[in-house]
């Protein structure tokens, strides 16, 4: 199918504040968001039609980014101290034909208020003549970290996705470069590189049909940037192959236009738009999801919304708990060597908070890790705190003992404690991110006595039983946690 009339997302009013953990908060209405770019501590993404979104913290997004030229599906990449923009100047059959043009331009800033904010004249780097099997829109940018060469794929369902090379110094097409077909049946393609593989991501399905849009993002990979890009069953993307990265789910549908952002070693997110957010009148919204890597394939992680969890260290599998007395559950013992087969089976209730809370101290209680025994002092409720802001991909959370307001907090000595009542203090707020291997890392928003927002110290197993705060290191299981619903 081809692109259909869209652009209802192009709205300049703010929705009312949404307190539940939505896709992103604010007014994140966009179609074909560019890979998220950072400039002077703010995040930017640009969409079809012109303009784009800005976020101070990566979680709350609003309109205000500026891009001239209109057209479809831009991408932005920082090269040196400048940002290279690439976009399709046309509408992919919407304006009538398939005469597409891909243009590039530079800017020293993304902030429209900056004195450095000025676009260079846009220059054409690729085109389609309206008859050939290609429609030159929807470009992306990949600066190959192994060679320093700059690549672009572009195209839609009207024919093939094509690969060209640009000059990273000028943003112009490399002289003599001949375009090459690398996939069919895609639009809004993106190229990424990881660990010896080039990945071509494409959007399959139909866009712009609201809650009935079937858009989904698939991927193929190759050892060479020029392909062939094969999927997990060996099917070439030139034959329509592709492995699913993200499809509908969680009250949103129609993900399209992939972008990868590396936050830290082992911490990545993908950006996309969802054609329809079922909780926002079916509008097209920005989506940011953890990006997982499974056996060398990218997959979207789940949006972390909180809930009741056992927090299990990946060091040994011990569980984060309050350092309180272990309270035995009273039980009529049925030893395996003298069971009375005539007695009916009974169900033993879980230990309840009320059974044990009186044994806990009133003040601060320190935390430790130990064998998970399904006990109240090991059960944590993780709840978003919307008024506390967020980070790229999520809001800050409080982590409290289930059924209480007792909250996990960082101390000025880079240790942990559980304060009796959650007060909203920044050391009681937690940034929770799913890692590329599917586990999680947890960072306090702030550390008492230290300025600014903490982006370095994570919950860490100093020993099997001893949690602490240590600088992030993806290479050790000490820094990783499993959040298990109990």
């Amino acid at each position: 199918m081809k692109r259909y009339i869209f652009f209802s997302f192009f709205l300049f009013h703010f929705s009312c504040f949404i307190s539940r953990v939505a896709a992103q908060v604010g007014a994140p209405y966009i179609h074909d968001p560019s890979t998220i770019a950072e400039c002077d501590g703010k995040y930017y993404t640009y969409g079809t039609g012109g303009g784009g979104l800005i976020s101070e913290d990566g979680w709350s997004w609003h309109s205000g980014a500026e891009r001239p030229g209109g057209g479809a599906a831009p991408d932005v990449l920082k090269i040196g101290d400048r940002y290279l923009f690439i976009y399709g100047a046309t509408g992919g059959g919407l304006g009538g034909g398939h005469n597409g043009r891909i243009l590039t331009m530079w800017n020293r800033s993304l902030d429209p208020k900056s004195p450095d904010f000025a676009f260079t004249t846009a220059v054409e780097v690729a085109s389609s003549d309206g008859m050939e099997d290609c429609d030159a829109i929807d470009p992306c940018l990949l600066l190959d970290p192994t060679t320093g060469r700059l690549w672009t794929t572009y195209g839609t369902y009207f024919g093939a996705i094509r690969l060209i090379e640009l000059d990273p110094k000028t943003g112009l097409r490399v002289a003599g470069n001949v375009e090459q077909d690398v996939a069919i049946d895609c639009e809004a393609s993106d190229l990424i590189y990881r660990d010896g593989w080039y990945y071509l991501l494409g959007t399959h399905g139909t866009c712009c049909d609201g809650v009935n849009s079937t858009y989904n993002i698939v991927v193929g990979r190759s050892r060479k940037v020029t392909g062939p890009y094969l999927d997990n069953v060996g099917r070439d993307m030139l034959q329509g192959g592709g492995r699913m990265v993200i499809n509908a789910g969680d009250r949103v549908c129609g993900p399209g236009h992939f972008g990868r952002t590396i936050i830290d070693d082992g911490v990545e997110v993908m950006s996309c738009h969802f054609e329809a957010d079922f909780d926002r009148s079916g509008r097209s919204v920005l989506g940011i999801r953890p990006l997982l890597w499974r056996d060398g394939w990218p997959e979207a992680g789940e949006r972390f919304k909180g809930g009741d969890f056992e927090i299990e260290s990946m060091r040994r599998g011990y569980s984060l708990e309050l350092a309180v007395d272990f309270v035995r559950i009273q039980q009529e013992r049925e030893r395996f060597w003298d069971m009375d087969m005539t007695k009916p089976l009974t169900s033993i209730p879980d230990q309840q908070l009320n059974d044990v809370i009186a044994t806990w101290p009133q003040g601060e209680i320190s935390v430790r890790c130990s064998d998970y025994m399904m006990r109240p002092h090991q059960h944590w409720t993780i709840t978003p705190v919307p008024e506390a802001g967020g980070y790229l991909g999520g809001p800050y959370f409080k982590i409290t003992i289930t059924g209480t307001e007792r909250a996990l907090a960082a101390t000025d000595k880079l240790e942990l404690t559980a304060v009796p009542t959650f007060t909203g203090a920044p050391e009681q707020l937690w940034r929770i991110e799913q890692l590329t291997d599917g586990y999680f890392r947890l960072l306090p928003k702030a550390i008492p006595g230290r300025d600014g927002i903490n982006t370095r110290y994570v919950l860490y197993s100093a020993a099997d039983s001893t949690p602490t705060l240590v600088e992030w290191d993806f290479s050790t299981d000490n820094a990783k946690w499993r959040l298990r619903k109990y």
Binding site: N99, D129, G130, E132, D185
Partner: protein, 653 residues
């Protein structure tokens, strides 16, 4: 010297890179012929059947150089074998490398190059290190494009500019130059020293003269030169004739009158190439406000029976036959109706070229000598802009000639429905648009193209013809059977001309709707009057969209019936039919339904497969129906075995 050369080459490569988005490597030229840099003072020579161009190389005034003056720091050489595609061979001599020259003189004015005894002698003026004025140096090479080895000293006894060397039939070489009038002298056998004294050329008219170019034709010696004929005027190109190489001369008149835009200089050469004489000259097309940045042009030149030269009117079109499949800069037209104007596309980056404006209905321009022999299954692309909706036609021969394509130029689109998205309602008046159309008519051989304005004013930048990609080939009635390809794909199909369907955009085809539609259409199939086509696809898939484009009445919203006959040498059991289709499709083997692909479908290899069946020995009939809304319809079909491997041991009739 080497280091400098490398640096300069890098700059040159950068320059090429910068313009690669706009121009091809080999510049396809109308006038001016070099369209990515300035070129002036052209000397054209034919070496080994190829034409070589040695111009000077204007650049913007460098820091420290004389303001508002000529500025030249190096020489490039260009070559061509058709006078339209010019290859830039890059820098051959740099001012910093001239042993006797000022490294920052920026005075590398008009050069020349001749061949003698298999060696190439390059002559150029330059400011000497230790003196005023100009001297003339020599560099030698084994090939016309170098590398050139510079002589340590300039030619003794020569003070001036604009060297020209003429070698007579007896092998004696003469050097002409401009310095206190036009002068000439014999050159020694070594080509690097004067033989005796130089002398002023006699018999020439009063007035400023420079840039001598001497040649011989039919026993006549010619001396041609830029000449200011009127007090306070600008340069013409003029000539004189003689019976001997150093005169005395008889003045004959003007070859080209003064440039009508006031460009002060002109400088030239004449050359015979493939039986035709050409005049190379320069004009400041790419620098209209500064006549010291110039560009080389070519026009044909003719001689009368008595050896006199016919005056040349400069044209925009220039010379050479241009393939229709290269970019035709029709703003460089051969002739036009009154009122047609040309202007730069970008007054700052002037190398973005020109466009022509046809001011009203009936205006036209002709672009001559376009070779259509390369256009077989063509379409045409034009770059145009207009302020109002208008139309233009591309015709053959003249303003009333046969229409090749007629374009509607819609810059203010009617709102198709209320609330249509703003970006696609936008006013495109005054913006450059690239429009594409299939050809109504394809000229044969070499033709003159005419662009006619059919409504309101319109501007045109270029025209380009291309051939469609081939997707399939019609199969003759008695053709041999086809084989599945190496992946088992069936490429030979009988296709019924597309049947129009009323399908809304972006439909997810439902099973029940498809079943009813396919059943209804199947019932009607035997009564369908449409024509069947037997085609062999060039690809593993059959591009039904392109089939509809060629044989149908509409591109989108079609149902396609496909049939093929599978001849098996024996029963093949446990076979599945594997199909990808855009969009939904249904498939029957020997009349039995075997597969339905529903929903929002695109053509993906092995998207859906049938249950197992047996392909029977002998003929099996495979029939499919593919239905599609707004997409690029196609399908790929093969049989696979139990393990998913393609089945290939059959023939396709």
């Amino acid at each position: 010297m080497k280091r400098n050369l490398v640096v300069r080459h890098k700059l040159f490569i950068f320059f090429l890179t910068f313009h690669s988005a706009l121009f091809s490597y080999h510049v396809v030229a109308q006038n001016p012929i070099v369209r990515d840099q300035f070129t002036a003072d052209p000397t054209a020579r034919v070496f080994n059947g190829r034409i070589y161009l040695y111009p000077s190389h204007d650049i913007q005034v460098a820091e420290g150089a004389r303001p508002n003056w000529f500025c030249m720091a190096d020489y490039h050489v260009f070559s061509s074998d058709d006078l339209t595609s010019w290859q830039d061979h890059g820098v051959i001599v740099l001012q910093e490398d001239v042993p006797w020259g000022r490294p920052n003189g920026y005075s590398m004015w008009a050069p020349d190059c001749v061949e003698k005894g298999g060696k190439y002698y390059f002559y150029f003026p330059n400011g000497p290190k230790d003196g005023r004025g100009f001297a003339i140096g020599v560099a030698t090479a084994d090939l016309p494009d170098g590398p050139y080895k510079l002589e340590p000293e300039p030619i003794k006894g020569v003070a001036g500019i604009d060297p020209c060397v003429f070698i007579d039939d007896d092998g004696i070489a003469y050097l002409y130059w401009s310095g206190m009038g036009l002068r000439g002298a014999k050159l020694k056998e070594n080509m690097k020293e004067l033989e005796g004294e130089s002398r002023v050329m006699e018999g020439l008219p009063e007035g400023f003269k420079e840039g001598p170019f001497a040649f011989k034709r039919n026993g006549h010696y010619y001396l041609t030169f830029p000449w200011v004929r009127k007090e306070g005027g600008t340069e013409t190109l003029a000539y004189a004739m003689s019976d001997s190489p150093l005169g005395p001369w008889t003045f004959k008149g003007v070859i080209m009158t003064e440039h009508d835009n006031g460009c002060w200089t002109n400088h030239h050469s004449l050359v015979e190439y493939k039986g035709q004489w050409y005049l190379f000259y320069h004009h400041n097309d790419f620098s209209p406000r500064d006549d010291k940045r110039r560009s080389v042009c070519i026009d044909k030149i003719a001689f009368n029976a008595d050896g006199t030269i016919q005056e040349v009117k400069p044209t925009l079109r220039g010379v050479g036959i241009i393939p229709a499949t290269s970019r035709l800069e029709v703003d460089r037209y051969s002739v036009s109706s009154d009122g047609v104007t040309t202007a730069l596309n970008d007054t700052i980056n002037t190398f973005c070229g020109f466009h022509a404006t046809l001011p009203q209905k009936g205006s036209w321009l002709t672009f001559g000598d376009v070779d259509f022999s390369s256009v077989t299954d063509g379409y045409v692309i034009i770059r145009v802009k207009a302020d109002e909706n208008t139309e233009l036609a591309v015709r053959e021969k003249n303003a009333k000639g046969k229409i090749i394509a007629r374009f509607k130029v819609t810059v203010k689109s009617e709102v198709t429905r209320p609330g249509a998205p703003a970006p696609f309602r936008r006013d495109q008046s005054g913006q450059w648009l690239t429009l594409t159309l299939p050809l109504d008519y394809t000229p044969k051989g070499i033709a003159d193209l005419v662009v006619t304005c059919e409504d309101k004013a319109v501007s045109i930048d270029w025209i380009l013809f291309r051939n469609r990609q081939r997707y399939f080939t019609p199969v003759a009635k008695n053709a041999a059977p086809s084989q599945p390809d190496e992946r088992g794909y069936i490429r030979r199909w009988r296709l019924l001309e597309p049947i129009k369907q009323d399908i809304r955009s972006n439909v997810i085809f439902t099973d029940s709707w498809l079943r009813k539609t396919f059943a209804d259409e199947l019932a009607k199939l035997s009564k369908q009057k449409g024509k069947w086509y037997t085609l062999e696809s060039d690809h593993y898939n059959m591009k039904l969209f392109r089939f509809a484009e060629k044989y149908g009445s509409q591109l989108y919203g079609n149902l396609f019936w496909c049939e093929t006959y599978i001849d098996c040498p024996e029963d093949i059991a446990n076979v599945r039919l594997a199909v990808g289709s855009n969009g939904a499709s249904m498939w029957w083997l020997n009349g039995e339904e075997v597969l339905l692909l529903e929903g929002d479908r695109r053509m993906v290899e092995d998207d859906g497969v049938s249950n197992r069946f047996t392909l029977k020995k002998g003929r099996n009939v495979l029939r499919g129906a593919v239905i599609n809304g707004p997409g690029l319809s196609d399908m790929c079909v093969h049989f696979i075995d139990e393990k998913g491997k393609p089945v290939t041991n059959f023939q396709i009739q």
